[in-house]
Amino acid sequence: MSKIAVTIDGRTYEIDVRQHAADPTEFSATVDGEEIDVYVPGADPSQPIEWLVVGRRPYEVVFDRNLRWVQSGRRRHHLELHDMESSFARPVSGDGRIKAPIPGLITRVLVEPGQQVTAGQSVVVLEAMKMENEIRAPRSGVVLRVDVQPGQSVALDAMLVEIG
């Protein structure tokens, strides 16, 4: 079960989402006290959702890579997602927030706030699964904040560094 607050064009909905274990294309969502069945054909995590059925209503959609908007019919809707079960504002990397892709130990921090970085530049070294992994900047920019220090253990998706 995940609890997510979705703000669409300025209006916020709190939504519980549960994926059915028996059939990963089926989801149950609870919003405003109403339970809605959701069917996602294919339901491939590596592919964007192209269409889905919410309740009895089918929608063809285009989602932004970072879930910042969704297009359907004649319009594009602005989205803001907030995972209410973790402290991270935005789930997806690629928007300048660099998060831990696996749990591990921070061995080195290579940047500090205010520093200019270029895309591909290493920012943090994270040891996990007996390997040191260089975490690189997804894009160029200025380091806005560094949330970790050497020796710190981090959980999956923990915020490491933000680039703006």
């Binding site: 989801f27 879930l67 040191e132």
Partner: protein, 498 residues
């Protein structure tokens, strides 16, 4: 009739011409540049030859060489590229290869826009108020020329349009609201037209406020017979490209319509017009219409007339080029019901309509009765950055206008294109606009569409749920895998460096 015809074009129009060739039993030779090698027009042709020179589809010498080498007896230029280049048409005429289009002299006469308008005015037809002299702006605009222009503009009155003497396809046209903006607009127009046409001459034309853009499709054969295939409305333009067209034009009185047709035929006769062409007019809010120009080629909008009349215009073009008479008489041209066309471009409505090249990941066309899609698109095919972003034309027909509008609305809803951004959302808004549904609109509608109809609360909530589900799914992709791609934020460092 020809045995073999070369199509000096690409994309949707090349595919469309090949279709008629095959139906006529004429072998089609496709040409392509390196980027178009796997394009649909290459696959559908009987023969295909790669263009080897940097000029590509614009290299007339190379196209003629390929025509001779493959034994093609005729060249169809489609629209754009070599369609209205008198020197290329002359080269075809000299080489003994039939050019599918008007003779070089007629094309040159239609292209000299000021002379053409004056010729039409002398014959007693109305034309927009414009400057009689072109500014040959091959030199930098000096103070004297600038003052002359400002004087001319003052005399015409604002708002006015800066137009290219040999323009077309919307290039080089600039609307000027006030004197302050005139000189800069002229500079821009000259740069643009010089780049496209190699002709930087411009003139000024008075804007007709609230005008509708009306046009009449004409056909003329080499025996001197000229007929029309009725009218179209092309008022809904963006960047001077017609986004939506319909045939017939809505809200014309029968007397107005027949006057429009007769005027178009009269003007075409002035130019001894041969081949397919479009006589274009502006109609003011009083219902008076003014000749603007003749488009001496097949147009992007031709399928809407084909749907309304049942006449294959490309087939008639090829017959005319082969010296055959028109296959039907004026009395046999029967406009029935209503046809509407939308131009689907690969462009990003959320990013200033910049072209959106890429690879089509999904391409699902609408279906059903009385519907036609002209396109080179299919899943997996490339939309190259080098060319016009036109991806498809969608045309529907209905027994009346109301049905045609509703059919277009549902066809647009059905059309699914993924991989590039398209103007489909804009087209859905246009077709859903109350003024379009009522048939009462002019060239200004695109600037003031109904505010996007709000989604119902329920569908807004449904989309919020969809986003939450997308988020949950997305997180699964991140959990189990250790990505190795650079931009996923991962890279394997060697132990030796630590």
């Amino acid at each position: 009739m020809f045995n073999k015809l070369l199509i000096a074009n690409r994309g949707a129009i090349a595919v469309r011409i090949i279709r008629t060739c095959r139906e006529m039993g004429v072998a089609a030779v496709a040409v392509f540049d390196e980027g178009d090698r796997s394009s649909l027009h290459v696959r559908l042709a009987d023969e295909c030859v790669q263009l080897q020179t940097p000029g590509g589809y614009l290299d007339g010498d190379e196209i003629l060489r390929i025509a001779k080498q493959t034994g093609a007896e005729a060249i169809h230029p489609g629209y754009g590229f070599l369609a209205e280049r008198p020197e290329f048409i002359r080269a075809c005429e000299e080489a003994g290869i039939a050019f599918v289009g008007p003779p070089s002299g007629a094309v040159a006469a239609c292209q000299a826009k000021i002379d053409a308008m004056e010729r039409v005015r002398a014959a007693g037809y109305r034309i927009p108020v414009h400057t009689r002299t072109a500014l040959d702006a091959t030199t930098a605009l000096n103070d004297e020329e600038a003052r002359q222009l400002l004087d001319q503009a003052q005399e015409l009155g604002y708002p006015l349009a800066v137009k290219s003497c040999s323009g077309g396809r919307g290039r080089g046209t600039r609307v000027v609201e006030e004197a302050d903006a005139l000189i800069e607009s002229v500079r821009q127009a000259r740069r643009e037209t010089g780049n496209v046409y190699g002709d930087r001459r411009i003139y000024l034309e008075k804007i007709i406020p609230g005008a509708r853009h009306l046009e009449v499709q004409v056909l003329g054969d080499s025996q001197g017979r000229i007929l029309h295939l009725g009218d179209r409305d092309g008022s809904l333009q963006r960047n001077n490209q017609k986004m939506v067209g319909e045939a017939p034009a809505p809200n014309l009185a029968p007397a107005q319509r027949s006057e429009l047709w007769e005027t178009a035929l009269g003007i075409a006769r002035l130019f001894d017009y041969q081949g397919a062409g479009t006589v274009e007019f502006l109609m003011d809010s009083e219902g008076a219409f003014y000749f603007t120009e003749i488009k001496a080629r097949i147009q992007v909008e031709h399928p809407v007339t084909e749907m309304a009349t049942g006449v294959d215009i490309v087939r008639e073009q090829i017959r005319i080029a082969a010296g055959l008479p028109l296959s039907l008489a004026q009395e046999a041209v029967n406009m029935r019901g209503w046809a509407i066309q939308c131009r689907i471009n690969a462009e990003d409505p959320w990013n200033h309509y910049l072209p959106s090249p890429g690879v089509l990941r999904r391409f699902r066309m609408p279906g059903g009765a009385h519907l036609r899609v002209d396109t080179y698109g299919c899943a997996g095919c490339a939309v190259p950055v080098e060319y016009d972003p036109i991806l498809a034309t969608l045309v529907v027909w209905g027994e009346d206008r109301d049905l045609a509008v509703r059919r277009m609305a549902r066809a647009l809803d059905e059309f699914t294109i993924r991989g590039v951004q398209t103007n489909l959302t804009l087209l859905r808004q246009i077709i859903g606009d109350s003024r379009l549904a009522g048939g009462v609109y002019d060239t200004s509608l695109l600037g003031r569409l109904d505010a996007a109809q709000p989604e119902s609360d329920k569908s807004e909530r449904d989309l919020a749920v969809a986003a939450a589900v997308a988020y949950v799914l997305r997180n699964q992709a991140q959990t189990p895998v250790i990505p190795e791609r650079l931009f996923s934020g991962w890279h394997r460092a060697s132990r030796a460096t630590s």
